[in-house]
């Protein structure tokens, strides 16, 4: 075909509006948000809603405030909460989804009906889910009353209002903790590279890990982020929200796993049986390895949903419950209730960075393999 036929020009013409819209609404607006986050817009309430507010460039002051400012403890707790939430939410969805898919894969009677039951919460909004579960988790009602159905005492667990927390750590240890986690990931990468015989990769990853550990041990402890220790951990009040989120989203992982299981050719299972594999061995050596890419996809999709989640929290625990709050909710409140636009933009940018850590490697690897095939 010719390089630039009329048809090809049409195809570019068709795409142009979308390209411009995405360029402006995604990339342009992200750039604008990052700029706003480096100003003082709204830090002075009198200027926030002025027609022509006086806005000064302040560099990273808002970020510094969020991570080390006296008044921003709420944000730091939210950051910790969102990490724990993501962890348990993904584990819950993967575990329950895989379990359900394995059962449905054995073709029980009425399979379609079971599937419908497990998937229907997916069609609801987080606001509806949140409204229902808010009622279920009322302090003296719903789930806490369930034991009385069996003649037992009602439970008294403070589902959405508990102030207990476990796994607390001092925010001042954050540099050390982050360095250790990133360092461990690098070590794993180095070991994997070494196994596949990639020497430069092994050396680079290993070297970076060593430098990080050195930094964390020698300089890390001397960084004082806050004047006094500030403890953050996993709040029990989040448990109810995690259960509701798993209720809503585990049908999705079930659908993914079921599609994956159904995609495994029957000959492969037969072959494994012929080779003398028992049920357990077949799952361990044949089926689970084939499901690994699905698990990764699901983790990416669930991970980005969970980092952004806030409507469920808003509907279940209300916007002002510090024990359950997350950065995505804080951003909305800071920007549109308190009109602190610069601070809100900073929180939005931090969220974007968190999500980008999850999404960018995934998208680039997906498209690298695809270009390779083409």
């Amino acid at each position: 075909m010719k390089g630039l036929s009329k048809d090809r020009l049409w195809s570019i013409a068709v795409l142009t509006p979308s390209i411009i819209l995405i360029a402006v609404f995604v990339y342009g607006f992200i750039a604008r948000s990052v700029y706003v986050s480096m100003t003082d817009w709204g830090n002075d309430p009198a200027q926030a809603l002025a027609l022509n507010p006086i806005i000064r460039f302040t560099g990273f002051a808002n970020y510094q405030d969020l991570f080390t400012g006296f008044l921003q403890g709420r944000f730091r707790q939210e950051l910790v909460s969102t990490i724990f939430f993501t962890l348990f939410f993904i584990l819950g969805c993967l575990g329950l989804g895989l379990g359900l898919a394995l059962i449905l894969d054995r073709n029980p009677r009425g399979e379609g009906l079971w599937r419908t039951i497990f998937l229907f919460p997916m069609s609801l909004s987080f606001i509806v889910t949140g409204t229902i579960w808010r009622w279920m988790l009322q302090p003296q009602g719903g789930l806490n009353q369930a034991p009385t159905l069996f003649g037992a005492q009602p439970s008294t667990f403070a589902w959405l209002s508990s102030t207990d927390a476990i796994w607390k750590f001092d925010w001042n240890k954050l540099p050390l903790l982050t360095a250790s986690v990133v360092g461990l990931v690098l070590v794993v990468m180095a070991v994997r590279a070494a196994r596949s015989g990639d020497r430069t990769r092994t050396l680079v990853a290993g070297g970076c890990a060593a430098l990080l550990f050195l930094w964390a041990l020698i300089i890390g402890p001397n960084i004082k982020m806050l004047p006094a220790p500030e403890l953050h951990g996993f709040n029990f009040a989040l448990i109810g929200i995690i259960i509701a989120a798993v209720w809503q989203m585990s049908g999705y992982t079930m659908a993914l796993y079921l599609a994956g299981l159904r995609g495994i050719p029957e000959e492969l299972r037969e072959a494994a049986k012929v080779d003398g594999a028992n049920d357990l061995g077949m799952y361990q050596h044949v089926i689970f390895p084939l499901l690994a890419p699905i698990t990764l996809s699901a983790m990416i999709v669930l991970g980005h949903i969970s980092l952004k989640i806030f409507d469920l929290v808003y509907a279940m625990a209300g916007p002002d419950n510090i024990n359950t709050s997350v950065p995505a909710l804080n951003m909305y409140l800071t920007s549109f209730r308190q009109n602190q636009f610069a601070l809100g933009a900073a929180i939005g940018t931090i969220l974007l960075i968190l999500v980008a850590f999850v999404i960018v490697p995934y998208l680039s690897s997906q498209f690298r393999t695809e270009e390779g095939h083409a």
């Binding site: 009329k6 995405i22 609404f25 054995r106 997916m122 609801l124 933009a345 960018v360």
Partner: protein
């Protein structure tokens, strides 16, 4: 095996039981200690009460979701066709850059979006919200159609080209007529997403144009509410997407799987 299935089904259905039971109770019957009891007398008035409070918002959502979905589907179909059948250099990179828009937290673009909609004079109007949903829907609708058209054999296009058909004739006579399943998937997906969305609804609208998700969150947020009202409201807000799911579940699942990027 069946015991496990029943146990799991209980986990998924118990909230529905409590939802319906509470919605059908009269406010005086709602008592924390009798949460689990089925109402002695059914009180359908909760639904008309809830409708009088959020019925207008349900209609807002309906108009919003239908309009935004139609625009999104058309745009996605054209984009998917151009990207999968008229590949040019860098098409995949362009597409990856587009897809990133599907994953970003909207909090990272919310303030400029709010300013932009306001400067267009669309703040508080449903059209501002439609614009936002159509634009941020481009990645997913393009993705679904691109994957759908990837299965259409290129030989079909080549044959049409030899017959002298151009870009638009091929779209109108070959691609569009076989796109119905693709449209069904995209329409269901977008309708559900737009109907259920909350963040844009809460920031870009005012009291007259608020969609039902925001109205429901206000209805359920107060402290002294009688719970039959928000429960009936939740049913009203859930019914359209639930019906779509029950009637067209197969396509819903297909959209769901497409959303996990695997091309």
């Amino acid at each position: 095996m069946y015991a496990l299935l029943v146990l799991a089904a209980l986990f998924f259905l118990v909230p529905v039981y409590l939802l319906v039971a509470t919605a059908l109770k009269s406010p005086d019957d709602i008592n924390l200690s009798t949460t689990w009891h089925w109402p002695a007398a059914l009180n359908w008035a909760s639904f008309s009460d809830a409708w009088s409070k959020i019925g207008g918002n349900v209609l807002n959502s309906l108009f919003l979701a239908v309009t935004a979905t139609l625009f999104s589907a058309l745009l996605g179909s054209l984009n998917g066709y151009a990207l999968s059948k008229w590949k040019f250099r860098g098409a995949n990179t362009l597409f990856a850059l587009m897809l990133f828009g599907m994953f970003i937290p909207y909090q990272a673009v919310l303030i400029p979006l709010f300013q932009f909609i306001k400067s267009l004079g669309l703040y508080g109007s449903i059209w501002g919200l439609i614009l936002a949903h159509v634009v941020y829907g481009i990645p997913i609708t393009t993705l679904i159609f691109r994957n759908f058209y990837a299965d259409v054999p290129d030989a079909l296009i080549e044959a049409a080209t030899i017959d002298g058909a151009g870009f638009w004739q091929i779209y109108g006579r070959v691609i569009f007529p076989i796109s119905i399943p693709g449209f069904v998937v995209v329409i269901i997906w977008q309708f559900t997403q737009v109907w259920n969305e909350f963040l844009f609804a809460a920031t870009l609208t005012n009291t007259t144009s608020q969609p039902v998700t925001y109205a429901l969150s206000q209805l359920a947020g107060g402290q002294a509410v009688s719970w039959n009202l928000p429960m009936a409201g939740a049913i009203l807000a859930a019914l359209p997407t639930l019906l779509v799911y029950i009637l067209l579940g197969r396509y819903f699942v297909r959209g769901l799987l497409a959303g996990s990027v695997k091309g």
